[in-house]
């Protein structure tokens, strides 16, 4: 549980800590709305995992956790590279999508 939870926490803070800067780069209302949605989805994924227990032993969870950790590095590099906001939002959306899959594997206690 610890590794998967940590991965979701780190994903949320990667978006949260860069939110102000990314929001400033959004050129359209649609992009701003997309960023806001991605932030709340990442937060929902994290708190959903907190509310449940994740199967650390489940191979699918381990695989998704690994994917999420790799995507975090990619996402950080994308943000730091100063690529256009559309590319950054696309990378965030991909990472948050994996986070949603991971949180979806949580089982009720």
């Amino acid at each position: 549980m610890g590794d998967a939870l940590k991965a979701l926490e780190e994903q949320y803070f990667l978006i949260n800590d860069n939110y102000g800067s990314l929001f400033g780069q959004c050129a359209t209302d649609d992009q701003k709305a997309q960023l806001q949605k991605l932030l709340t989805t990442a937060r929902t994924n994290y708190w959903s995992a907190i509310n449940k227990v994740l199967h650390d032993d489940d191979p699918e969870v381990q695989s998704l956790t690994s994917q999420l950790n790799t995507l975090k590095l990619t996402l950080q590099a994308t943000i730091d590279s100063g690529q256009n906001i559309a590319a950054v939002l696309g990378a965030i959306a991909q990472a948050v999508g994996v986070g949603t899959q991971l949180a979806g594997l949580a089982i009720s206690l």
């Binding site: 803070f13 929001f23 907190i50 227990v53």
Partner: protein
Amino acid sequence: MRRVRANPLAVAALLAVCAVQTGCTHGKDAVALAQQMTATANELSTYYGALAQCVNSELGVLELEQALNHEPLDAENVAQLQAVMQAFQQRQQMADALATLASMQAFQQRQQMADALATLASQLTTLTGSTAPASVGASVNTLASDMTGLKGLPLSSGTATAIPGAMSQSAQGLMQWWQTRKERGFARSFAKTADAMSSLFAREKPVYDSVVDTYDREAASVAIVLVKGGQISDDSLTAELAPALKPFGLSTGSMTAALRQQLQAAAPELLRRQAAQLSQQEQTASAALASNLTAVSQQTAQLAAGKPLGKVPAPASMTAVDAWTKTVQP
């Protein structure tokens, strides 16, 4: 709900009387174990209360982020945090109930037992809807029934023993022990409960640590925004200089604009580091609690198996738990 904490001094005095009256090694071991279990359960209650406080403060921080940073806070997130806070409050009530149960070991009079059971029923009322009467036998039976059907504590899977059922057995076993005064009865009554509490804490510890870390990081993030925006007083900013000035008893005078700007620039890194230190402090506290719960569980199992504890364990030291919870209290 009314919180009742067993007074450690009163418990120790009652336990001492009990030890004199039972007068054997196992009796002394049971007394020492009950004392340790009561102390640990009380600290566990304080810890869970602090976790609930962290989640409550986290909600406040998210509301601030919404106001200051335009970060959305939707109803689903609020509901999730409230559910987590409620879960911690339920665990706190469970720890309170364990402290009361453990302290009952000392009771010599039927009325004391009845009073303690009434207290226990009161502690569990919000969890069980218990209406246990204040007579010993009826109280135990009603509580046993109520606790078996305990709602709201998601403890039925992944834990060796479901805590509600184990606590029910503890209450029944305690009643039998009280009636017969058979040695080992106390430990046998609590073996499953102690094991289940220890297992639950170990399993959920990553969640506890993560929730506190999230709160610390989120709070630092808002504090950084306020510092950058020039909304923090000069006095607070000069606190950053304390590591350099405090050893010499020096204090700052009026702040120049240049110094203010430099301190504002340095503040984000300092705040992030302080947030990490607070999270580390909580992890030390939860590790200490996990260790103590394991020790109590192992000692209970040992005594239940009829093996003397040897060196009677001293009440657990909870300095780390106390130090962290003090940072959380409003």
